[in-house]
Amino acid sequence: MTYQDPTGKLSEKLLDRAAPDRAAFEDLVIVPLFAVVVALILGALTMLATNVDLATIGKSYVALLNGSVGSLNAISETLTAAAPLTLAGLGLALGFRAGLFNIGAEGQILVGGMATVIVGFSFPGMPAAIHLPLALLAGAVAGGLYASIAGWLRAATGAHEVISTIMLNLISYRLIDYMLRLPFIQREGRADPVSKSVLESAELPRLLSFIDPNLRVHAGIFLMFAAVAAVYWLLFRTRLGFEFRTSGESPDAARYAGMRAGLLIVLVMGLAGALAGLAGANQVLGVLGRATPGFSAGIGFDAISVALLGRSHPIGVLLAGLLFGALEAGGRQMQVDAGVSIDLIGIIQALIIVFIAAPLLVRALFPWGFSKLTKTSKE
């Protein structure tokens, strides 16, 4: 036996963490920044192509900025829009990390939100300290169970989760329509499908109403930050997270390591659904106050972009959620101030994703922004 390391010096050296190299920094910070810039420029060109004059374009970008971060109200709107996107995005990120492409957040939001609404209008006289957590819990559990169906189908039968979550989305739309007409859910005296209103004791309290009652930002943003921390802890600090990441990176290695793939799939889907369910709860308790058909409003689909943009990392998802929240809030302002279509915001969002997904394209467009490209394509 020759032990090459009698003094332990070598092993100490191996514990030194290398400073993050320049390429990683560029990928994480500079590429997204440039991507946003390019997307805005291309957005302007799109407006030009549709005969919007330069002054209006300038005005609309000023509106975008003002509407997203330009005032207290703007920031409040940005945060309000970011919370559900981030929550659902975290759930999807969890799935991506474990190798599951869950696109059922939309349905999970609906089902979770519906359960929350029912609990939210059902217990008059219950103290808020119990009622609110109970309503949130109902959303998380319902969303989690709903998503586990897809997880279970995958684990037990191999049915691909992309297909089954799409189907579950479609089922959830009709399910909500049906439920909203049930006598004990539908608001009295209404013919259209609208649920009863959430009681005040279950509402997520507005945070800044003492300044101005119109500031909509509510306690849901604490939920958002807590979820970011919890998902970070789960993924990178726990055994379960290690198992999730291993199954996502290499199912063969996970099997070799003795991890139980089926159980992990159901768990991941359940947790992802719970986070999406919380996003739904956040909407009905903090913004809408009741459920209507399609109250998820596409958040579950935007959350896919948020998760991808955030590279399935909790911090990244938070930043992406905030960016999308800002675009949404600013986009509304753009429409009001400059009269350009809200669809343009959709175009800009899509462009940002395209450029972030293609870092080489961004590097090629801005060669001076990056250290000289050394190829590492074959690693």
Partner: protein
């Protein structure tokens, strides 16, 4: 076509993989490239074939400097590389794979597969490759897949052909055929670069050698004037002993008992056909056999990765026939799997994470739901140092390590655990002679501590050097048994070929 590398330096961050390397590659010659794991051989060749751009230095082709902007440029210049990990599309045919990227097309971009097939046949005939252009890649054995890679390179009219550890995955017979092909290419005037850790191969085939250590050229010359011992010393910088330090085995009680084991392949063919064997404490049992005779399914069944169709497996008297991988780990199994990149490692994870891949749940590494990353990192650093894993730190992603160092991560993980039964498939694949010496020593050490050891290897020399008992597997059955101390290579070889079946 002659190539000169002048002062090539390639850095990855602060790590210098190649430092001021000068090298000549000449037409009609085989250049053997030797060096320890992580010496920078693959990196240098990736620079030559345009995958990496050097930080400093120049490549001259026939005296004229060239700059490659990507592998496309290198291919256009006539440089082709057969990588260690093949880059073929399994569901495509041979011809489709060969023309991929340079498809011959007719009017309206119609893919002219007929022409492709003809061209493949032509290359086949010229170099005696004997590959069916219509066969699906996934149905071909590794040896033939490698030929497809060679055809791919020749199809792009390469004048310089680089082979990165081509023989690591080949059986002895396939190696012979491979050498015939290489000689044919050389006699045809092509320049060949050949990377290997097997010194006898270098002596057999190389006309000249260059030796890299720590990224720098430390020697070279004519291998026919050198012995294996000299070559080894030049590589690792110290004398290397090839003989395994082996005391006679003192087998104890039976540890792993296998009775009438039947294992099926994915397509329900019988892979392991009523195999019985017993492995005792304190002995090394080697399973010799040409690849594809059921060794892989046998190992998978014994480690709990493949369902058993019949028979019984007992460990220390306990029936574990249907126990899963986790259960066996906990009972004290260590497993060095055959396919390191797919099974044994998660390439995107750090060395530290990989070092606990199958023991992260252990009390030492986790408490409650939490991982104790500090302990993991320290353990990983100790293991990496002990097993000479060359890396800047344990936080480095495993995919950035050289091939041999990846293998060392697996071996370090499995051998540093407190185990009772070691099952190792190709434990030293891709390792340099110095590391092989060390790992063999560790395996004998485990044996002497009372572990049972089962080695599966296509290297007959490795089986002979390590085993106390040798079982020969042929078409799913154990067809012969030899005593490790007295076994003759030729007799084992005959049994492997089915002569006693």
């Amino acid at each position: 076509m002659n190539i000169e590398l002048r002062g090539i330096t390639k850095r990855f961050g602060s790590l210098v993989a190649n430092r001021d390397v000068n090298m000549d590659i000449r037409a009609g010659q085989v250049l053997g490239l030797l060096g320890e794991n992580g010496a920078g051989k693959s990196t240098l060749m990736n620079v030559l074939c345009g995958l990496y751009r050097p930080n400093e230095g120049q490549i001259l082709i026939d005296g004229k400097p060239v700059a490659f902007d990507g592998p496309g440029d290198a291919i256009a210049a006539g440089i082709g590389m057969v990588h260690q990990h093949f880059m073929l599309i399994p569901v495509f045919t041979v011809a489709e794979n060969v023309v991929l990227g340079v498809e011959p097309t007719g009017p309206l971009d119609h893919l002219d597969l007929k022409k492709a097939r003809e061209q493949v046949r032509e290359i086949n005939d010229t170099y005696g490759l004997e590959v069916d252009p219509d066969a699906l890649i996934e149905t071909l054995p590794v040896g033939i897949q490698q030929r497809v890679e060679i055809i791919k390179v020749l199809f792009r009219s390469a004048e310089v052909v680089i082979f990165d550890e081509p023989t690591a995955v080949l059986t002895p017979q396939e190696v012979e055929d491979f050498f015939k092909i290489v000689r044919g290419l050389r006699d045809d005037g092509k320049a060949i670069v050949f990377i290997t850790h097997k010194l006898n191969e270098i002596i057999e085939i190389a006309d000249r050698i260059s030796v890299l250590r720590g990224g720098e050229i430390v020697g070279g010359g004519d291998p026919s004037e050198m012995t294996e011992a000299e070559l080894a010393e030049m590589m690792v910088g110290r004398p290397v002993s090839f003989a395994v330090d082996k005391t006679p085995a003192r087998p104890g009680e039976p540890l792993l008992e296998v009775r009438d084991l039947v294992v099926l392949r994915d397509n329900d063919d019988i892979a392991v056909n009523h195999v019985s064997m017993t492995i005792h404490r304190g002995e090394v049992v080697g399973i010799a056999g040409v690849q594809g005779n059921g060794q892989t399914p046998l190992v998978e069944a014994l480690t709990g990765l493949r369902q058993v169709a019949g028979g019984e497996v007992r460990f220390k008297g306990e029936d574990i026939t249907h126990a899963g991988a986790r259960k066996r780990h906990q009972l004290g199994f260590a497993h060095i799997p055959e396919d390191r990149q797919r099974t044994g490692l998660v390439p995107a994870f750090s060395i530290a994470e990989n070092m606990v891949l199958d023991c992260y749940y252990d009390d030492r590494f986790s408490r409650g739901p939490n991982m104790l990353w500090k302990v993991v990192n320290e353990t990983a650093a100790r293991n990496a140092a002990e097993f000479d894993v060359r890396a800047p730190s344990v936080f480095e992603a495993v995919r950035k390590l050289s091939g041999g160092n990846q293998q060392k991560v697996i071996v370090a993980r499995e051998l540093s655990r407190d185990t009772e039964m070691l099952i190792a498939a190709q434990p030293t694949r891709g390792l340099d002679v110095g590391s092989i010496e060390y790992i063999h020593g560790r395996i004998m050490h485990a044996r002497d501590e009372g572990d049972g050891v089962l080695i599966v290897s296509s290297e007959l020399d490795e089986i002979l050097a390590l085993s106390d008992r040798i079982l020969v597997m042929f078409e799913g059955r154990i067809v012969a048994e030899f005593d490790g101390a007295t076994a003759e290579k030729s007799k084992v070889g005959l049994a492997m070929a089915g002569a006693v079946a």
